[in-house]
Symmetry: D2
Subunit: 149 residues, 4 copies
């Protein structure tokens, strides 16, 4: 595990998550915040699907990217912002389920660049199935007013 540089990392992550309107729109919630690891839960919603009724790959990505971004953010200094600079997602199985669990983890923290890895699980009754993996590169941003919250 990692040592957070900001002792208030949980409040910081919760405050930022609260500003991601997409998360509210998806009815997603922050399930847990540990240093370098964040879990987001969201229900299935037919408003966000592709043509076969599965969660759209972009929504799959949204949930994992946010989990990864906040995993990285949890380790950043108090005055920093976080931005995704790129990510890559593998869609392993159709995203069908009653609800979804996205887990984001820091693989390698850095002063400027933090590499993260995440997964999305679909929950059907008692069953949990891995439906996507994502690798994201996050950037620590300090002192740029245009992207201040």
């Amino acid at each position: 595990m990692f040592d957070p540089r900001d002792p208030h990392y949980q409040q910081k992550v919760r405050a930022s998550f609260g500003k991601q309107t997409l998360m509210a729109t998806l009815d997603a919630s922050l399930h847990s915040i540990e240093p370098g690891q964040v879990e987001i839960h969201a229900p299935y919603n037919a408003a966000f699907t592709q043509q076969h009724g599965f969660l759209h790959a972009g929504i799959v990505s949204s949930l994992i990217d946010s989990a990864c971004g906040y995993a990285a953010f949890s380790l950043m200094p108090a005055d920093a912002e976080v931005l995704s600079i790129e990510f890559k997602v593998n869609l392993l199985a159709p995203a069908k389920g009653q609800r979804f669990i996205a887990i984001g983890k820091v693989k390698k923290p850095g002063r400027t660049i933090t590499v993260t890895e995440g997964e999305l699980y679909a929950i059907n009754g008692e069953q949990q199935k891995l439906v996507a993996t994502l690798t994201a590169t996050m950037m620590t941003i300090i002192g740029r007013d245009d992207i201040k919250e």
Copy 2:
């Protein structure tokens, strides 16, 4: 340009797009469908943003992924379905704008695998700015009832 194997490729793409509820939720529209190239337009909507008020990276991906998927689908045989198996997005600039234009193009068609490339432009008044590029691998699916529309 490419030769579509299905003469009704435009209807096919329109019908499938009409079933992607996410596109309706985003108020996105199919602007043009050519063999191997599709353009999707969508307005800015504050319900789909990240913490700084920019379009969330996952929504950026949704628009480009759909444009790329339908670019690939336009070249597939009449009885085929299309699935994204993976994509990689580079977020070049904050996705802020009044509206967005996603363009998806087939780079290399194939019997099973089609490689596509896409871009998202943000429109601010008269200005058009490239905000993201995406590369997606699409798979032709034939005869799998579980993902039939």
Copy 3:
């Protein structure tokens, strides 16, 4: 772990590895072959470096891609060939060391598409450091004479 469909998967992997002249050129060796997991070792060689004397990112990729390819190949039927269709590598730290260990694992096997994940470790004396991660999509090829061995 996975069940290999070809009981002779180890011989099959060894035979194919023996035909990858790049592996011999890099003095790389097959350290272990299990169903869905392959480990390749290689020494540092100043002939394969980038401008700072570290192993070139393309050579880093070569070792992990081969480990991932053979991890996928170990689960394929006896008459199949394997091809990488895409991969993504994250370079976490400079690839400096006396020798390198590449580990490739199947994340999700499939009839046509197998998703794999790999890592490269640099060994310096007693120390082992993760220097790169790679995600690769492998394709099962059957009956294409042009890529037969």
Copy 4:
């Protein structure tokens, strides 16, 4: 096209390329250096192939990654170093040919992060075929002695 910040960008790129021993090992040469665009040529060599006799995907990546890295480097300030932080390659066709042309281009330059795109063409007699595309994220490094040349 782009304005190079270092008027001696061509010498800088040539000097760094000269230190990439892998390029010499591959008998690769710098064909052209323009601001934000670099072309590298290399012959086929049976010592660098995979099991079917095609150029190994890692060598394909080496050539394009170097072209992209130097495309980015050509736009960096005089005291900067360049490092690849991640790349993604799509292998569109078997890399068979008498020789290969790698082209790297800057898609979006930045103070810290530069996004590049590259391609590899296989040359067979009069024919030129696109065999791979690559997207790479390059980082500008200033003042880190451990990776100084």
